[in-house]
Symmetry: C2
Subunit: 257 residues, 2 copies
């Protein structure tokens, strides 16, 4: 199985490494920025290019691993006579963006990829969509070697998962960041909160988040909430977020008196 | 060391168990609701009461582990001639609420306690405050047997930590809950997001949250954000939170163009 990677960022790097570890042959890396293509090509011991005219036209799989913003334009500029299967891995983009090709699909890892942070792909769910049954079978077969959780995932479902993941991952991380900045302002180390952050994530591994909510909002403890709001009065944006999320917690708990 | 526990909720239960495990003698549990006092007294093999007149007046330590809302009224109704050290463990309450007593202090576990969820107290930081050096030494000595992280914590610092913990724990959990509800609306299991939630918490155990942020807001990807906002258009409260947190992420990344 020969694979061309189009993209050289976090997702391309993590998936490229996973494919290489399975013994697949990464024949080429394309990136608009040649230095980036070269860097990943060196890691994966393969060729780099920043010229779509030089794209390897003999591969079995073309994985488009670029940002959601760059994807549409990339697809338009790709040669339409590519053989093999054309894949993207974007949570928020319909599979039909690839409809000009013969064989196409989506592999969507429900995971957040950061630079230089190892990720356990074997525990990462991958949603699979394909334009026909044969492609679906091939993709499922490949991805099942990477992870234990492979599931069929239509574009509309993928959008639901992607939106939910923004809340569960990006927005929770933003809450960690506010907490860190608040502690830093008061000369306190973020280490103080790392155990409770770990505990928060651990709790919901086997429970529903709504069953383990604690704190002043779920208790409708207005005195404590007012004291916190006053404490962060120099950050009106934090105050707004504090109020809106507290209202949400109170409402979903049926405690919104 | 004889200890009276005043309160019978999650914090009283977790700390009571920890003290009992250290071999301290829990002589009495007080709760306004006798059934609750009885339940915890049975677990800790001790006496229960719901009558403050019957409070054991021979203990070395009185731990007030009630909700922040109930604390002020409880303190007012306690007999002022109690011997030993009077402690509360509230993040948002000044130590000076106990100033009518001779010896008093605060032990503040930076942790979230839920019913029937075991917590690793040995990894939980405890902030200590006391009205004199002798009480501080005693409290530090006791709590050091429970956890590896004991630190001096003035009331103003405790308020900072408590406010930060609401963001890091309660609000991130609220984000998990939105994600779960969104998936449920689309007949998708929350299991799909459990690995990314674990990953989010793991990442910040050794890194700053702002260095590992991913997603459309940090990339200023307006097309994806608009698509998500449209997708959750039946939940205006989720939309508001989505917008406010995305603005915060974009702003703190210096990407707010």
């Amino acid at each position: 199985m020969n694979i061309v990677l189009i993209g050289s960022g976090n997702v391309a790097t993590h998936l490229g490494n996973a494919f290489a570890a399975l013994g697949y042959n990464i024949t080429q890396i394309f990136s608009r920025t040649l230095a980036n293509a070269n860097r990943l090509a060196e890691v994966l011991s393969t060729q780099a290019t920043n010229n779509l005219d030089q794209l390897d036209k003999t591969a079995d799989l073309y994985l488009l691993a670029v940002s959601d913003q760059a994807l549409a334009q990339l697809v338009q500029s790709l040669p339409k006579d590519l053989p093999g299967i054309i894949l993207h891995c974007s949570g928020g983009t319909s599979m039909e963006i690839l409809a000009d090709f013969d064989q196409y699909g989506v592999i969507y890892p429900v995971q957040s990829f950061s630079k230089d942070v190892a990720v356990d792909l074997s525990a990462t769910p991958f949603g699979i969509e394909a334009n026909n049954k044969q492609v679906y079978t091939i993709l499922t077969s490949i991805i099942s070697k990477i992870t234990t959780t492979v599931f069929p995932c239509a574009s509309s479902q993928r959008l639901a998962i992607h939106t939910a993941a923004v809340f569960a991952n990006n927005f929770s991380n933003a809450m960690f960041q506010v907490a860190e900045e608040l502690l830093t302002e008061h000369q306190l180390p973020f280490d103080l909160l790392r155990p409770i952050i770990k505990e928060s994530a651990d709790k919901v591994q086997s429970r529903s988040p709504k069953l383990v909510q604690t704190g002043p909002a779920i208790r409708n403890d207005k005195i404590t909430m007012d004291s916190h709001l006053k404490f962060i009065s120099s950050h009106p944006d934090w105050q707004t977020i504090y109020q809106k999320i507290s209202e949400l917690i109170a409402k979903t708990s049926g405690n919104n008196s």
